[in-house]
Amino acid sequence: MVIYGVALLSFCMVLGIILGELLGRLFGVDANIGGIGIAMLLLIFLSDYFKKSFRLGDITEKGITFWSMIYIPIVVAMASKQNVLGAIDGGLVALFAGGIAVLLSFLMIPILSKIKK
């Protein structure tokens, strides 16, 4: 059943966000710490577990893979609702603060990639 896949995915996301929220409270921060990352780890572990003990079934799997495939259209929708005007209206301070941060971060990628483990 396709809903099993969707339900499993939803379960992982909700549980992950709850744990991320609790992690935030633990550190006294008004933000979710890694909720989505925790949800992803849960899904990886659960799907791994299901693969070993019993097969998830093709149709059930489609309940997850559909959402993974609709990812790019969702990102396009996300781009279409960005506050681009707000970014431009921020003027030079915002442009330089954000721009230099991005540039320096890009430069760090090759350096950090050299780390062995």
Binding site: I33, M40, W67, A79, L85, A97, P110, L112
Partner: protein
């Protein structure tokens, strides 16, 4: 005639999410068509679709004066739901399906390190710009630096420290600039910085941290890399909210 337009507008608005599928479907189709015919596939269709989306967001913002891009136009309000944090995060979690845990583990250290370096580097870049532009109180400098981390960390830090509302607005704008620059810049810069494998994607996610920027940037380069970048990026805003109003503010406070 007016009646017909009214009927169409009201049907499209009432079925907003469905309308947004048509809207996005058209953007993606046009983008892949242009990518194929005009650039011979050299410029990735999804990268073009994201740029086109941003262009529409700009036009929508100019037309309505709102903050939600095209989603402020009533019959396109469904784009706000489709492109909102809930469905975006749902799809991001789904991309993790099939990821091998070994790949994550083998780049774990680099990923964690990139998170700390990313937050601290962006913060001081933003703080330095604030100083250059004449800000001299620790609260404003910290808030603008935090905005360069992400547009969530800026206002969270600003309100924790009691920054003025125009400085908080500025910090949000800095975060928006960052997020949009990552979306636009990643497809152009990916090749030059070796962003083509799970490990560098994890580092990329940790360094940039902006969820929307990383999500769109990797989608435009190689969708297979999305889960790795998203995995580290999801910890970034939390780490920023943790460090900026405390440890990083303290450093700025000592200097000023």
């Amino acid at each position: 005639m007016m009646d017909l337009l009214e009927v169409i507008n009201s049907v499209l608005s009432k079925n907003g999410l469905i309308t947004s599928f048509i809207f996005v479907g058209c953007i993606v189709w046009v983008s892949y068509f242009i990518s194929d015919k005009l650039t011979d596939g050299k410029f990735h269709g999804s990268a073009l679709a994201i740029l086109l989306g941003l262009l529409f967001a700009y036009l929508g913002g100019t037309y309505t004066g709102g903050e939600q891009g095209v989603a402020d136009i009533s019959f396109l309000s469904g784009v706000g739901l489709l492109g909102g944090a809930m469905l975006r995060d749902f799809a991001i979690v789904a991309t993790a399906y099939g990821v091998r845990f070994e790949d994550l583990k083998s780049s774990g250290l680099a990923g964690v390190l990139s998170l700390f370096i990313g937050v601290i580097l962006s913060f001081f870049a933003g703080a330095a710009v604030a100083v250059i532009f004449g800000y001299s109180d620790a609260t404003s400098i910290t808030t603008i630096g935090a905005g360069a981390v992400t547009f969530v960390v800026g206002p969270v830090t600003g309100s924790a420290l009691g920054a003025s509302s125009d400085v908080i607005a500025l910090s949000i704008a800095a975060g928006l600039v960052k997020s949009i620059l990552v979306m636009v810049g990643t497809p152009f810069l990916a090749k030059h910085v070796g962003l083509n494998n799970p490990k560098s994607a994890m580092i990329f996610g940790g360094l940039m941290g902006t969820n929307s920027g990383v999500a769109a940037g990797l989608a435009a380069v190689d969708p297979k890399l999305v889960p790795y970048g998203a995995m580290t990026a999801t910890f970034y805003t939390g780490l920023g909210c943790l460090l900026a109003p405390s440890f990083l503010y303290l450093i700025i406070h000592i200097i000023y």
